[in-house]
Amino acid sequence: MGTTTSRFAAFAAATLLAPLLAACGGQGQEAAPGSTTAAARQASPLVVYSGRDEALIGPLLQKLERSTGGKVEVRYGDSAELAAQLLEEGDKTQADLFLSQDAGALGALAGQGRLEPLPPESLDRVGQAYRAHDGTWVGLSGRARVIAYNPGKTAKAPDSVRDLTRPEWRGKVGYAPTNASFQAFVTGMRVLDGDDATRKWLEDFKANDPKVYEKNGAILDAVDSGEITLGLINHYYWFEKAAEVGAGKMTAKLHFPAKGDPGALVNVAGVGVVKGADQAAAARKAVDYLLSAEAQTYFADQTKEYPLAAGVTSKVEGLPPLESIDAPKIDLGKLSSLQETLAMLQETGMV
């Protein structure tokens, strides 16, 4: 007991002293970003808030650093949480650039006047459907909603998500109600069909005993194993899994719903320059770099998403061209009306 107590006291002392030591030593090396030391101010870095993960964005931004010579600092997080943080920071924010996983978060920031309009020559690299109407953000990569199906269980997946309320699919459909992509799809349906029709569909869909999952990947695994017959997911999950285990080992197949179906929505991951950014010029340069053939090809290869800049096509095997998808024509910025979607999902008891 005695030795343990003294050891314990030593540990406690170390606990209390460590911050002091760290303050003297360890922390000194990492000149904290935004610290108001003169040295740091001289070469103010480009501060990026990224809702896309580091494994994907990190290498791109390193290349950007090398090509422009300016320092880049990134804060990674969840797109929506970073959007909430940017709104909470207001005009005090140090962020210059916001990279978002979906159009909704960008739309929300634009709606609050927190994004700078981008120059037309940057915007024009991407089709009208995949950028903000007021030019405040631009899509970088496209993510198509699809119906994954198990060919062992059904010969054909339905052509419309509206068919999923039929008795033949009872208990056989997997979905992720808390997943941002699913919620964006429901928002898209609201924009297309109106609130009443969407509420009705949600109620009928829910009554058809669909299986709940947390993430797209889990849905795809369940379709692959035959646990369920159909799954509502984004297209690239299939291609990522195929790259991991080999396309030959995949049982699940993808079906792109028919023309203009809400289930064929193509959402985007995109980027916007934060209002009042002190590195606005560098931020615009970064946007142009992210739209360059090099970066777009990288997105396409790494994430299996659709490159959106003109002249770049994906080389992913088996991926139907973006033009072949009859996505519904909606203003992606309107996907920021997620709150109403959430309320509706709550009313129907989905989340």
């Binding site: 343990t4 107590t5 050891r7 314990f8 006291a9 540990f11 406690a12 170390a14 606990t15 209390l16 460590a18 911050p19 760290a22 360890g26 922390q27 990492e30 904290a32 970003p33 935004g34 108001t36 501060v47 993960d53 580091e54 494994a55 600092e73 804060r75 990674y76 997080g77 969840d78 929506a80 949480e81 959007a83 909430a84 943080q85 709104l87 909470e88 920071e89 207001g90 005090k92 924010t93 140090q94 909704g104 978060a105 929300a108 920031l109 808390t178 941002a180 919620q183 709940v212 999952y213 947390e214 990947g217 991991e244 920021s336 997620l338 709150q339 979607t341 959430l342 709550q346 989340v351």
Partner: protein
């Protein structure tokens, strides 16, 4: 001999210095509430009321409280039984078991949940959430109960036995009442932990209040509904803490006699030995061995694995520094509140104690956004700098340290302080020379516990860390969002390894 005293320290006025110091801590802990109020009432009270006054709120409340009740009950069962077995019986290898019983503290709830669900997908929902949360939070009950068991004088139990009570009846009538404050304090911490947990419930897909708040932030970009829901959680916390204070009763349990407590002779288990060993093994297997084995499997099986030792070291160093600073500040804030709560009664002391608990039931994301809101307005120089994150840790985890301090001070006899006072020592000197030294082991245990929970903290760390600085928990998060479990495993392993050191010491102390 020891005796139950009525209201220790009654009739003594708390020192103004302590009250002032505790007041500063309470104000710090209440900061998130200011923000919640501002945000919730942004569009007028009627709007906030409309958000809160729905059937869904009641449903979420029921789901959250149901989960908390089940987890607390399970934690009390596991915590008290293991504490008794490891401290008061002739259990073979008691020392090792007490360390093992403490180690699950080092496992983040999201890692435990993931380990279980990846092995058995059918666990999703209430059962899985309850299982994962019980296994990571029962040490909150085990530690204080084991500490109390080690400190109570066996004389009363012996007296009860000599009057013809059997061992069970003695435990029930004599031992358990003395354990109640420690168990109830631990139980409250567990309840608050469950109410504010996001990791386990989201992986287990069990909708609770906190998960709804997170979803609301993620989906609406409107901070009002989340803040309004957060207010409901705060009210729940206050009620919980208040109820616990009410049931705490007036039983003090410091010894009043001379000399020191004899250690109780260990009870012989006889034929029950195997059952006892089986029980301890089962808990250790589920709480420690299983998550570690899962991590080991990821480490060896994944394709996404890429060891980055340099980065791992850097991240570990940053985590250590932040968690140590967090533990130091949290302990400093908790010290006066814990001492007051142990030694004095009265409205002010109650208020201070409840205030210290305020930040604990609010989800980390809410506390973090509160800090963002306040810092960009009033403390911009420290925004996204280490000090702000450390402050946030103090707000989040003050109750952990308060509970430890209170329990430690309660165990030391107030009469010694009275003697020091009567000899002319100033209150401050009494504090420095008598109260704190006597309670030091318990306070240090609280600091170690806080250190562990700071290390595991995720949502607030994501928002408030200096740009470009990573902790083990944020790296773990970054790797798991892309489903690269093999790449996440080293960070999880190092996190558990480092957190295991204080957990091990805590466990050793009990033995």
């Amino acid at each position: 001999m020891s005796a139950n005293r009525s209201s220790p320290g009654a009739g003594r006025r708390p020192s103004p210095l302590l009250v002032g110091w505790a007041g500063v801590a309470a104000v710090l802990a209440l900061l998130p509430l200011v923000y919640l109020g501002v945000r919730a009432l942004e569009h007028g009270p009627a709007h906030a009321w409309r958000i809160v006054a729905t059937g869904r709120t009641l449903e979420l409340l029921a789901r959250s409280l149901g989960l908390a009740a089940v987890v607390v009950a399970a934690c009390l069962l596991i915590g008290v039984s293991l504490a008794w077995l490891t401290v008061r019986t002739a259990l073979p290898g008691a020392r090792a078991w007490s360390v093992l019983a403490t180690l699950p503290l080092a496992v983040p709830s999201y890692v435990a949940a993931f380990a279980w669900i990846s092995t058995e997908p059918g666990l999703a929902g209430f059962a899985g959430a309850a299982l994962a949360l019980t296994l990571v939070s029962y040490p909150y009950v085990y530690l204080p109960v084991a500490a109390t068991l080690g400190g109570i004088d066996p004389a009363q139990e012996e007296a009860a036995r000599s009057l013809g009570h059997g061992p069970l009846r003695t435990f029930w009538r004599v031992t358990l009442p003395q354990l109640r404050p420690a168990a109830a304090g631990g139980g409250v911490l567990v309840a608050l932990y469950v109410l504010s947990d996001f990791g386990a419930v989201s992986i287990m897909r069990y909708e609770t209040f906190t998960r709804a708040i997170f979803t609301s932030y993620r989906a609406s970009f409107d901070r009002t509904p989340a803040a309004a829901l957060g207010c409901v959680l705060v009210v729940m916390t206050v009620l919980l803490v208040w109820a616990e204070a009410r049931t705490r009763g007036r039983a003090g349990h410091a010894r009043t006699g001379g000399g020191s407590a004899r250690p109780a002779p260990p009870a012989r288990l006889g034929r029950l030995r195997w059952a006892a060993l089986g029980w301890c093994s089962a808990v250790a297997a589920a709480g420690v061995v299983f998550p570690l084995a899962t991590l080991g499997y990821w480490l060896t099986a994944g394709r996404s694995g890429a060891w980055e030792p340099e980065r791992l070291l850097e991240t570990a160093a940053a985590t250590l520094a932040l968690a140590a600073a967090g533990a130091a500040l949290t302990t400093a804030c908790a010290l006066p509140v814990g001492i007051l709560a142990a030694r004095h009664r009265g409205r002010i002391v109650h208020l201070l104690e409840q205030a210290a608990y305020a930040g604990h039931a609010v989800p980390g994301i809410t506390v973090a956004l509160a800090m963002v809101f306040l810092a960009v307005r009033y403390a911009y120089p420290i925004y996204q700098e280490p000090p702000l994150l450390v402050l946030c840790y103090a707000v989040l985890f003050m109750p952990v340290a308060v509970a430890a301090t209170r329990a430690a001070v309660l165990q030391s006899p107030p009469v010694l302080e009275d003697v020091a006072r009567s000899l002319g020592d100033s209150p401050l000197r009494v504090l420095r020379r008598v109260t704190v030294p006597l309670a030091a082991p318990g306070i240090a245990a609280g600091a170690a516990l806080t250190f562990v929970v700071c290390m595991k903290e995720l949502p607030a760390t994501l928002l408030l860390r200096p740009t470009g600085v990573d902790t083990l928990a944020t790296r773990l998060w970054a790797e798991t969002t892309t489903a690269s479990y093999a790449a996440a495993a080293p960070y999880a392993a190092v996190l558990i390894l480092i957190a295991a050191v204080p957990s091990y010491l805590l466990g050793r102390r009990r033995a």
